[in-house]
Subunit: 363 residues, 2 copies
């Protein structure tokens, strides 16, 4: 198996705090109840409308809420498969009692995981992937153009912040060896599920856009079904090494064993997850071989900005690049790339990022 | 004066809850302390960086934080002019003591008001205004093409959700009589300030993008100064009637005096502020003259969605339009218009809306 079988995965789990792991599993398990509770609130709001507007709205919205409920159950079934065998079973028996133990933030991450599946592993997400992943892979191929595709397996590529694993998967599919690294347990459970448990394309059906009733053109696009994965995972079997490693990027790759170990490091929407981007830059530089390439694509939406109890250092793109150069990189192929991120493909609101693309060569 | 002098404005104030008014004034007054406190946190985070990275970052970020502090003081001076004479003076003496009495939500609204000034009243906002306001005004002019510009003053146009007043101002500038209606006291204080207290173009300088350090290309664009207003307010003196009315749209315009009183109602980014859009549609229809035009532009980002204690009815665009037709309107000139909203014009992240534009004629 590409990212270790369930046994070796369990070992990875143990490396992370058990309590945190359980809280994430609990969040996934509470999805069904949480989403149905939100629909019950919508039914109450609808029932509270008076006069002739009630009849008008009821005829329109009640069937849609009923259909949304079916979509929730469908999502919950996929989530059930995702967390199957991942402990915290004591919570299943009485979901209702445990509902309030799950934070809104964690429930948002469950729903966000569904949207990330659409971005990384559906046909509908192809456009976003073409815009963001494809230029990074093209850069990688250009850097190692002197190797035949068969010899690319010797090239060791690291993808920190690998999320649900698609970028790392696509890099392996092109023949490179690739290791994904991820800190979020939501993402780790998600990538494990799709990479190890999907047997064929379009095996699972999810409805990622049902949780917000805002900015939809019509009910069909609101309820739309997304089938995942869009590809056969087995397509990459035996081509090159592929692994996923759980843990904090600085901790894992700051260790001596990773010094000068990587031919290329590919970061997508990652550097702004740093509390201090200089720590990331230092670790990337240390982990790269001399002449190695750091290929980056992403905005600068610093994740820790404004958090009262956390350190957060934020740089503009110009400042970041000048630091990268000061740290001993040469910048090449700099450009801006406009893209959406995990957006409702048919919705009326999109978050559009002007991403910084560059290739930084370790001198 | 166009929206009443300070005396008549005070009367408007009294119509709203005094306590709420005071809390908004208090939020504006606390801006300086709040923004300086955030900068002090940035200085602490910077001081906490150790090793050679400290020197590297300090040389880069300390001058920027110093410059940002000057921008905060500049913003605070404009805000001071904005709330001058608006009571709640007892809080001024000891801002520090009162800092925690202001909610994060209210502080966000203060900062959002600064961004709205850039959207509505600066040269830099012209592009957004051309995309959203201009098609609505063009539709209005087409509807009343049989009138000479001199006779347009007889046409009564209502703009619910008038915000900082620019759309209503531009409608008056084209010769129509226009009344803006607004519920938010942040927006009302802001529109009163710009419409009644600015003596000449570019009188005030603000820095609307300094509060987030994320997604900036460079320090210059982060600190950039915006001058407001871009036009002479006196340009519209004597042309047509112009007024701003404070209060809840349903309460004010659902009253008998407004029945069949308006030739046109123009809504920009407004219908999704409804707890139930059907109430807005009913009130719009009642307030329009027979044959009157409702011109709409906006997304469907329902403001009350997901709020536990509030009713919220959300419709897709298709559902909304079918209700509009069922309520006795004929839809014309339907199209989608893509635009940003109060975004950092030079930033790396933009919220892009596919807005619904239509003209609904009351049959």
């Amino acid at each position: 198996m590409f990212i270790g079988d369930d046994a070796s995965y369990s070992e990875t789990e143990r490396r992370l705090e058990n309590e945190h792991f359980n809280s994430v599993v609990r969040a996934f398990k509470n999805y069904r109840l949480h989403a149905l509770t939100a629909l019950a609130k919508r039914r109450r709001d609808l029932a509270g409308v008076s006069g002739e507007n009630h009849a008008l709205l009821d005829a329109m919205l009640r069937p849609k809420i009923d259909a949304t409920e079916q979509c929730v159950l469908q999502n919950a079934a996929v989530i059930g498969a995702l967390i199957e065998g991942h402990g915290a079973d004591e919570d299943v028996a009485n979901g209702a009692r445990k509902a309030h133990a799950v934070s809104e933030t964690d429930m948002d991450k469950v729903k966000s995981t569904l949207r990330q599946f659409a971005r990384d592993w559906s046909e509908e997400g192809r456009n976003e992937r073409r815009t963001t992943y494809e230029p990074m892979i093209a850069e990688l191929e250009a850097r190692f153009a002197h190797l035949s595709v068969e010899d690319r397996g010797r090239v060791k590529v690291l993808v920190p912040g690998a999320g649900l694993g698609r970028l790392a998967f696509d890099i392996v599919k092109r023949g490179f060896s690739c290791q994904g690294n991820e800190f979020s347990m939501f993402m780790l459970l998600g990538s494990h599920f799709i990479l190890n448990r999907s047997k064929h394309p379009k095996q699972f059906t999810i409805h990622p856009w049902i949780h917000s009733f805002s900015n939809h053109l019509n009910a069909d696009s609101q309820l739309c079904r997304i089938q995942i994965p869009d590809v056969a995972i087995s397509d990459i079997a035996g081509r090159a090494e592929f692994s996923m490693v759980a843990g904090d990027f600085l901790e894992v790759y700051g260790s001596p064993e990773h010094e000068g170990a990587w031919d290329a490091i590919v970061t997508s929407f990652f550097i702004d997850t740093a509390k201090n981007p200089l720590d990331y830059i230092d670790t990337i530089r240390k982990a790269l071989k001399p002449g190695g390439a750091w290929i980056n694509m992403g905005p600068l939406l610093y994740h820790w900005e404004g958090m009262e109890r956390e350190t957060s250092i934020e740089l503009t793109l110009e400042e970041l690049k000048s630091i990268v150069v000061a740290k001993g990189f040469v910048l090449e192929n700099e450009r801006m790339v406009r893209t959406t991120y995990a957006s409702n493909f048919a919705g009326m609101l999109k978050y559009v990022y002007d991403c910084a693309f560059f290739c930084a060569i370790k001198t």
